[in-house]
Point group: C2
Chain length 267, copies 2
DNA sequence: CGCAGCCTTGAACTCCGTCAACTTCCGTGG
DNA sequence: CCACGGAAGTTGACGGAGTTCAAGGCTGCG
């Protein structure tokens, strides 16, 4: 069944072959299955349906729009490798980043039901995505109730994360906000088994953190220094380490309930 | 078919009779139909299915939780009358309001798929809600694809509004934020035909506006004074009036695209 | 008619922003 | 292998939007 990934009329690019190899060698390595299984139960049939979903793999360089505000697309993208973010620009040149995305996310899933993009989706690093036609997604959702539920659940969790960010931006201090974000990303990475203990890659610049949290890059820099000197965290060449996880959770007021992780996966 | 609202085993309270009267006299006055028709097309069959959905009407006083953070419920509520808000409290006693809701909204729809509430739902005014059992909603979504799409669309628009609020809280000045909120509520009320031109009820205290926008009540007061003296708006005994709608849209950077209204309904 | 909740205003303060300079890091090409 | 250049990180001095604290004032309801 895995080979059905060859899909309907999808060209056999080298990138496609890579994805197929990845999945053939370990079915649960399919990023979307891993993601959805962290928030819902899937039947064997549903997992097979996901594996046989026609996909075209595409790559983008860093700092590049995958989809831009105002676009009307007929496909959504599953993030296979790299980080992306959703953002909006302001008239004065300012930017608000509204979410960060890691492999397994489908950051523009909403375009299936909201035809016009109300924000942009950009890359933070070079990324590899799998494009899925809306008609194929629609078919999947119609045919498999459990998948519809899992995807709906996922989009509702997305909204829950937005709400939590609103709390941070609206009411938390810069120290609390930044610490909270670090806790959240650590947890999300652990959910899809992309971090080792409390150490993980951090490809996000301080400017990008600032744009996500409603701060300036200068202030983010000062706060990170504080967090380092107080022994909570360390940074080294693109890697982040939570030295004092309990201290971080406390300072950041981090309670992972809003991530609605399946019991047993949460930290 | 309208009388089928009597539903399965639902007690015939006086409030129920009021709802039935309302709907018998004008089917499109059903708040949920009106709301969903503003964002999606519904077939006659789907509207009938909504009308025959078993509902129990309940009232709450102002400043009261309908559902609290941590609750696990087996029903969602359709707001029939009054305003509500979603919010979270912070350790220091601060509060972040994450959305305002008006008649036609189903503010805790998400509890259908996310069993534990990650925030509270409270009343701003005395409200009347119609409680809908999750099993009935689930049945509806399974049976009528158009309704499933409309409801999914609605929850994605919810998320889009969160994103827009993040932009405001994160990057806009207090004047811009407050003006934007006023524009948004005016548009949402117009979508369900609850305002007359650019004048509408405003039952929200300045403290609540502050909690929604990440400000203090004192500062909200000062900004509202500025907006009044500059001739953009007026307030009088619980009623708000947009004196200079174009000026407000410009100052608040208000572009209603993120509300994804059906063409022809937007301002 | 009294009181409680909400609105209003002033004065002092502070967290974070702005501006500007400098350093470190790292990929590229000579 | 090193020199170069641009992007990202770092630090200091200063300023301002919004907060905090405090004291009234209005108004609608029991």
């Amino acid at each position: 069944m895995f080979t059905s990934l060859a899909g309907i009329g999808a060209p056999a690019t080298p990138a496609r072959a890579m994805l197929m190899d990845m999945i053939d060698s370990a079915p649960d390595a399919h990023p979307l299955i891993r993601k959805l299984e962290s928030i819902a139960d899937l039947t064997r049939e549903e997992k097979e349906a996901l594996l046989s979903l026609p996909m075209v793999v595409k790559t983008f360089p860093a700092d590049h729009d995958i989809v831009s505000i105002g676009d009307r697309t007929s496909e959504s993208c599953l993030l296979l490798d790299g980080w992306t973010c959703r953002y909006k620009m302001l008239p004065d040149g300012g930017r608000q980043i509204m979410s960060f995305h890691i492999p397994g996310d489908v950051p523009d899933f909403q375009s299936l039901y909201l035809k016009t993009m109300d924000h942009s989706l950009g890359t933070l690093t070079p990324v590899k995505v799998a494009l899925i036609q809306h008609r194929d997604l629609q078919h999947l959702v119609r045919r498999y109730e459990g998948l519809a539920t899992a995807l709906w659940r996922d989009s509702l969790i997305d909204a829950a994360i937005f709400r939590e960010w609103m709390v941070g931006i609206g009411r938390r201090t810069a120290h609390e906000r930044i610490t909270h974000l670090l806790c959240e990303m650590a947890t999300k990475l652990r959910m899809v088994q992309l971090n080792d203990g409390h150490s993980y890659p951090w490809p996000v610049t301080q400017q990008e953190v600032a744009d996500a949290l409603g701060l300036t890059d200068v202030h983010v820099n000062r706060v990170l220094r504080d967090l380092r000197t107080s022994g909570l965290i360390t940074f080294a060449r693109g890697w982040f380490k939570a030295v004092d996880w309990e201290g971080m959770k406390k300072l950041g007021q981090f309670d992972p309930g809003y991530l609605h992780v399946e019991p047993g996966i949460a930290a």
